[in-house]
Amino acid sequence: MKLRRTLKDPHHEAVVFRRRALVGFVLIVLALGGLVARYVVLQVARYDEFAARSQSNRIKPIAIPPARGLIFDRNGVLLANNVPAFRLEVVPEQVRDMDAMLARLGRVIPLSRDDLDSFHKQLKQSRRFESVPLRMRLTEDEIDRFAVNRWRFPGVDVVPYLNRRYPLGPLFAHVIGYVSRIDADDLDRLDPARYKGTTHVGRIGIERSYENVLHGTPGYQLAEVNADGRTQRVLQIHPATPGKNIYLSIDVRIQKAAEKALDGRAGAVIAIDPRNGQVLAMVSEPTYDPNLFVDGISHADYDALTHDPEKPLLNRAIRGVYPPGSTVKPFIGLGGLELGLRKPTDSVLSTGTFYIPGQSRGYRDDVRGGVGVVNLMQAIQMSVNTYFYKLALDMGIDRFSAWMGKFGFGRPTGIDLDGEASGVLPSRAWKTRRFKQPWYPGETVIAGIGQGYWAVTPLQLAHALATLAGHGIPHAPRLVMATQAGVEAPKVPLPNPPSGPSLVTNPASWQAVDQGMQLVVNAPRGTAYGLGKGFPYTVAGKSGTAERYSRRSDAYDTNKNLAYLASRHRAWFELFAPAEDPRIAVVVLLEKGAWGASSAGPIARKVLDAWLATQPNPPPNTPLPEAGSAAPAMPVAAPTPPSPAVGAAQPAGASSTSAATDGVDEEMQP
């Protein structure tokens, strides 16, 4: 360094610099000369051309926004529609005094606070020569009144557009979601070229997750405009490509039945076809009217929704997390068999209280004094805690969480909606991360009955149940079944291949769990005995009653008041049918339910009845559903040959059902 310093020659440097500066300046002048040459080309050589174009420059391209794709249910019932409407738009650059203009305009067409607020917000975000919507959905009367006064308002115009409508409103709010006006954050996110002229964007639900499919590509027209920028004549049209239509796998009839069965109680119902993961119904109650959001919800409406203690904006199906309670027992039972820890016939003595060897804290059964000796099937049938306490302990937390993780607990299911909650799958790693504490065996015990750290969304449970019902083959839940480029075009199905190999290696394990779940519904001591009565297929199910609070004393709670219990319990019911070859899996959650079987069970049954009514070929030789259920009367013998889709499954399902049920019943006799 020092050496270099001594070598530094300031005089020489100055000379070098002087040379460089001169060369640099010469280069700069040359480059500016090149620039001048370009201007000579434009202003001298091509002057005539550009002067002429400037003279005739009255032609502006105007974007044509694409029509948004429609949304249908699986049978073509329209769920989201585009309705022609008119709105008022303002080009800021052409308005001299905005406040005065708005005051004058307000006397011609009523403008609400909300209109003005959102207009001012958008005004700040848009460029001065781009028009800003001021009032949506003008009435005929208002259009006429404005037409008469139009000359007084340069820069203001009535513009036709397509307004999104949700004909079934609240019924699909949590599935389809809604579109709403594009705001500043969206402008950052969206491709400006694709959204030129578009005012609305999918905000939540299917409208958001399939935004790219639904939106389409804008076109443009070349229009002759006058000095005020008003269109005089359209010269050329390059039409827009509309967005694709979407077919949901949901059946409106099942969806309606599920909503009706919930009857306004806070909770969720999900039905999935286990053979392909298609969602047949997804309801979260309470709900809201998505139409309110399309043109900007008023403050009053929005406050009412956000301050409602029942939280209607919360999509309980995918974002509500609850302890699963006994609904996880079939999965754990299957794990015991698959991991080789149990044989189906291995039995356990239930005395009413279970102790970890060497510890004094007792873990209770539901029935005081216990139910005696039970095997796996009976343990599921009567929801015997002791069996699963012991099994969970034998499994150990690591194998336990690895096995249950295969069913998708503790992570989003991958349904085609945004914002799914992950829930909690109890595990050593999770507890270290969350609490920085080691795992205790007692926590494994209560995890075995779906209590403790457990938290699942109704969708996670439905996904797990569908995986179980589908003989262990997992499919990510899917709401969208097919897309369609225009109503005339053929539907293009969206394939949903299994997301992994089957979780069941030994069919006998599956049979045992399936049998236990059939007993729940069909055998006298089953927790939901009678729920499958009158249904043509055998139903397999499991109830769950999860406690919201931990036990604080050893005393038994003897309060049997249903309202009291409902305030302390989450009621679950899960079922699938036909038991041998399931085609539908249903999960019901009631945020406030006294008992899983008696509160949530009947809801699940109503969903099943609604599903049966939608099936083209009801099974032969089955009793009619009971009066009052949603299923219509069926012919005793099916007159038409069964369709190929269901025909293969049916005879086998119907015949083996009765055999299996009978056999189990005999075995169950004391």
Binding site: L7, E13, F25, R38, S54, K196
Partner: protein, 371 residues
């Protein structure tokens, strides 16, 4: 004490206003430019005052800062340089992490003041390169060139990532000019240019879609009639219809009828070209060339390496503004956000430019004494 302070303040004020220590030709050029800029802006804004008054206020602030900065000797700037450079680079990192802005994340919100650290980098970059080369033997060795390369690349990358290709280009150019002026051998420059040409396909690969789109649009404006293609076509019509003598002040039909978007900011030179024609363009470019030449003259007379390199780099980077903006308006270069100096509406770049010229004034005042 108080009296002393008051006296000093008085003296400072007198010195600033009555005996400013500045280079008069450069100052005259800048003032002329500012006046032409305001007049064009008045026309581009349809003869309304709000934009013009706002811009005039910024110019006032800019010239005041210019006078203040010119009082600080270059040696002081040199001592502060590493800290200023580190500070501005750190701010760029902060912006990269939590910046907010419309479309591009380049603003830092300080509550009262919204502020663009990339503007700061336009000054700290040539300062840093000059500071680094100042004590070293020149022309620089490969090693020194590599260090300077890193000094340039880090802020330029952070700015380009925002994404603000135009400012990244200006910042990198300012650093590169300092290196060029330090006397890097021509064969080395040639080698670097060949290398850069080789890198172009790789740069293309890393560009944003919209940046690629702009380049493609420049090659074929008709392919994007709704977006930048429209800008380019309309801008060329405006320029071309100006002819040799122009339509006259306040008679730009393209911007008046609203066919020319962004006609107060990036495309204001199109308005100027339409109104004043080829003659106006040539005079304007001559004025810019004069300012650049005067900057280089000041640089040649500077006392030490640091002052020399800094003054030269600031002067030459003015050329990049003019060339890129002028080329863009004439449909010769892609649409990037580079303003026409002291003409385009929009504050921060005008203030930054004037602060830079303040440093030049200071270098001029502290020049070599002739015997």
């Amino acid at each position: 004490m108080n009296a002393m302070l008051a006296m000093r303040l008085r003296r400072l004020r007198r010195n600033l206003l009555v005996r400013p220590r500045i280079d008069l030709p450069l100052m005259a050029g800048l003032l002329l430019l500012a006046v032409v800029g305001l007049a064009t802006l008045f026309s581009a804004a349809d003869g309304t005052y709000p934009l013009v008054l706002g811009q005039a206020a910024r110019f006032a602030l800019g010239f005041l800062l210019l006078l203040l900065v010119s009082r600080v000797p270059p040696a002081v700037w040199r001592n502060w340089t590493p800290w200023l450079y580190a500070g501005s680079t750190a701010l760029l990192v902060v912006v990269a992490i939590l910046g907010e802005g419309r479309g591009a994340d380049r603003w830092l919100d300080l509550g009262v003041l919204r502020f663009q650290p990339s503007e700061l980098a336009k000054l700290t970059m040539p300062m840093m390169v000059a500071w680094y080369l100042h004590p070293r033997q020149l022309p620089p060795s490969w090693k020194d060139m590599a260090v300077v390369g890193v000094l340039i690349a880090v802020p330029a990358y952070l700015i380009g990532k925002q994404p603000d290709l135009g400012t990244a280009l200006l910042v990198a150019a300012a650093g590169a000019f300092a290196l060029f002026l330090s006397g890097v051998a021509w064969w080395r420059i040639g080698l670097l240019l060949v290398g850069a040409a080789g890198m172009a396909p790789i740069a293309w690969h890393f560009m944003h879609d919209y940046q690629r789109g702009r380049i493609l649009t420049m090659l074929n404006p008709e392919s994007d009639p709704l977006g930048n293609g429209w800008h380019i076509i309309q801008s060329q019509i405006a320029v071309g219809s100006g002819g040799v003598f122009g339509r006259g002040w306040m008679h730009s039909s393209q911007s008046r009828l609203d066919f020319l978007p962004e006609h107060t900011t990036d495309f204001i030179f199109a308005v100027f070209s339409e109104e004043f024609g080829l003659v106006g363009v040539c005079l304007m470019l001559a004025l810019y060339a004069f300012i650049i030449g005067r900057c280089l003259w000041i640089a040649m007379e500077a006392r030490d390496t640091y002052s020399r390199l800094l003054a030269g780099a600031i002067g030459m980077s003015l050329f990049v503004y003019v060339f890129v903006n002028g080329g863009m308006v004439a449909g010769m270069l892609p649409v990037v956000g580079v303003p026409m100096p002291l003409m385009s509406y929009g504050g921060t770049s005008a203030v930054t430019l004037l602060v830079g010229f303040g440093m030049l004034m200071s270098i001029h005042v502290n020049r070599k004494t002739h015997y």
